[in-house]
Amino acid sequence: MMTGYILSAILISAVVTFAMRGLVFVFFDEDKEPPLWLERLGNVLPAAIMGVLVVYCLRSIRDDFTGTGLPGIIAAVVTGLLYKWKHNTFLSIILGTAVYMLLIRL
């Protein structure tokens, strides 16, 4: 691979990614606050986005249900229940991941 190509690709990726993250701030700053409906949306989005992200992480349920989909769902349920029970983030993540790694090897 050419160094120039790699560096250009990295530069483009960096610029586009930063632009996506910063676009909202072009429209709203200290002087111009976002309208109420947008602010309210920002308040409720975290819960919704976390749901979307969990589904995104488990997206293989569509095309590879028995291989990684079902193990993913089981491990996610284990992680969630464990968290509900002990409220310990590390424990939930480590055991949940261990369950997943075990299940995909069965």
Binding site: A9, I12, S13, W37
Partner: protein, 226 residues
Amino acid sequence: MKNTLKTAFIKSVPILFSYVFLGMGYGILMEEAGLQWYYCLLIGLVVYTGAFQFVLTELLVSGASLLTIGVTALFMNSRQLFYSLSFVKDFNKMGKAKPYMIHSLTDETYAVNNMLSFPEEEKRRIMFPLAIMCQCYWCAGGVLGCLIGKLIPFSTEGIDFCMTALFVTILTEQWEKARNHVPAIAGIGVSLICLFIFGTDFFLLPSLLIVSAILIVHNSREGGGK
């Protein structure tokens, strides 16, 4: 100051696990693609976005055009646009740290920042060192994976599930704290439907757009708020 750093570190530990493991997975992928550790470091520093970095490696290997790379970055990272919405006020009050806060907004930092239940000022003081720590974990994981990934004696396949597990714990915690479960249910329901309609590669953006539309309507009926 010392207390702020300590709190930031404690709050960053869940990300420490998932970023070091995921970063190592990324480093191993980069090494297999024939890309050196300094590229891992550079990309981790200036691009810093988990999922797209994995895809970028594949694009580089296949010699994809710069246009393809740019467009893929645009679509994969368009979700960050939604993340910014939740932090417009906070970031705007963070002065010189603002550009870095924008740059360091990832799935994981977004999630953890949302879980910080401190008074406004204190929260913002914690967010900046927290963001720096997280990026260090990510870069360290990538470089480590690139340099020593091959030495790990067992198969690490599936270790990337720690990212899923992190999101599940946050979803569970948010669920327990929230009085209104419509956002969480809408997020899960809409993305599941979109997954089956649009397929694994294209469902993220339509999901976010539809969920946002539903929540805007829901807010206007409910009178907004959490």
